[in-house]
């Protein structure tokens, strides 16, 4: 059904979309705070959906091949150290998010360099 034909038209009445389904909240990140503190409040609010995303990607990888557990262990145990090599203030900001959410630092590093990884 996804691939069913549809008429290619230039939409003319889509704006503004229904706020019930399209609303995006706005938050303030205070750059005067130390990098490790900047995202704490926001990260705590979104701990559950962020953890759900990370968990899903791990489960997807394992469903794809149980052998990928080795890669996941490598990410959890080794990739976190990469945060120290990332340019300031980004490494410290990511560490702050990991602390606030209890998500493995290595997994959050991977999430933050996903653009580069995805070009693989």
């Amino acid at each position: 059904s996804v691939l069913a034909k549809y008429e290619e038209i230039c939409e003319q009445a889509k704006y503004p979309p229904d706020p019930k389904t399209s609303f995006v909240p706005t938050y303030v990140v205070n750059l005067d705070l130390p990098p490790s503190q900047r995202w704490v409040e926001i990260s705590k609010i979104y701990q559950k959906p962020l953890a759900a995303l990370v968990t899903y990607i791990k489960e997807f990888a394992l469903e794809f091949s149980p052998k990928l557990q080795k890669i996941i262990d490598l990410i959890d145990n080794k990739l976190g150290k990469l945060a120290d090599s990332l340019p300031a203030p980004y490494g410290e900001e990511i560490k702050g998010i990991a602390n606030a959410t209890n998500i493995e630092l290595g997994e959050l590093v991977l999430y933050n360099i996903f653009y580069e990884v995805f070009t693989l």
Binding site: S1, V2, L3, A4, K5, Y6, E8, I9, C10, E11, Q12, A13, K14, Y15, P16, P17, T21, S22, F23, V24, P25, T26, Y27, V28, V29, N30, L31, D32, W39, I42, S43, I45, Y46, P49, L50, A52, L53, Y56, I57, F60, L82, S85, L86, P87, Y90, E93, I94, I97, T101, I103, L108, Y111, N112, I113, Y115, E116, V117, F118, T119, L120
Partner: protein
């Protein structure tokens, strides 16, 4: 992804984008969408970065992601990033970084945030930085400024800039970029640029606005199952509007 920069008939500059992400990472049968796209939607937020209580710049991001994929500095510049695939892809830069062979190259989304963090940047400075800095992965940087004709698409390889396509070339009033070099034909199964250009031309210079841009970016297949949000930016005012997007079936998977 699809990014558009352009001006209305009075020379007001706009920048808009669809962010598409989650290809091949599982299909959500219940919601008829890509699983990762569906999990990313609740994580979309607008961020106002402040210093000394003053707004510095605004971005659209996913909670937990600290780089910049979409952002605007009011009356200064805006940037969006579209993925570019190439033989010399990000894996070489990644390995060079991991093995500490070469760390004199920037992470693509951190470089974008770096220019927002720099107080002295303007449109020309942004183009210069994004053009000259070695980066870890190939990318398209789409940039706009508040003045007439300040719009460009920077096509980047890791080490060098392949092309800078500027607004006004051949009398263009907008530039649209998806995930292919603008001088090449896209894959026949992933041609979003032709309908995008057609809808922009149908919209016309005079009707360039948030409403017009949103309608174009909501037209299938520019809007597709990977589209998680549409962001609309007005350069002079720094106005940013972001909307979560869904593509109702029938709809192209990418």
């Amino acid at each position: 992804c699809t990014s558009i920069v352009g001006e209305d008939s009075k020379g007001n500059m706009y920048h808009a984008r669809n962010l598409d992400f989650g290809l091949f990472l599982g299909w959500d049968v219940q919601n008829d969408t890509w699983m990762v796209s569906q999990l990313l939607r609740p994580l979309i937020i607008n961020v106002n970065y402040t210093k000394g209580g003053q707004l510095q710049y605004k971005t659209v991001t996913f909670v937990g992601f600290v780089g910049v994929i979409t952002g605007i500095k009011p009356n200064s510049f805006s940037i969006s990033i579209n993925e570019r695939f190439g033989a010399n892809g990000g894996y070489i830069g990644l390995f060079e970084w991991f093995l500490n062979i070469n760390r004199n190259q920037a992470w693509t989304t951190f470089l974008a945030r770096d220019v927002f963090e720099n107080d002295n940047m303007d449109f020309d400075g942004v183009i210069k930085t994004l053009t000259n800095t070695p980066i870890i992965a190939p990318v398209y940087y789409i940039v706009a400024g508040p003045e007439k004709l300040q719009g460009a698409v920077v096509t980047r390889d890791r080490a060098k800039t392949v092309d800078v396509w500027t607004l006004g070339t051949n009398d263009t009033w907008f530039l649209a970029e998806t995930n292919y070099d603008h001088w090449k034909k896209p894959l026949i199964v992933d041609d979003r640029i032709t309908p995008c250009n057609r809808c922009m031309n149908k919209l016309g210079h005079e009707k360039m606005s948030f409403e017009g841009l949103f309608n174009v970016l909501s037209s299938k297949p520019v809007l597709n199952k990977l589209t998680v949000y549409t962001a609309l930016m007005e350069l002079k005012t720094g106005k940013l509007e972001t909307y979560i997007q869904y593509c109702p079936t029938p709809c192209d998977p990418f």
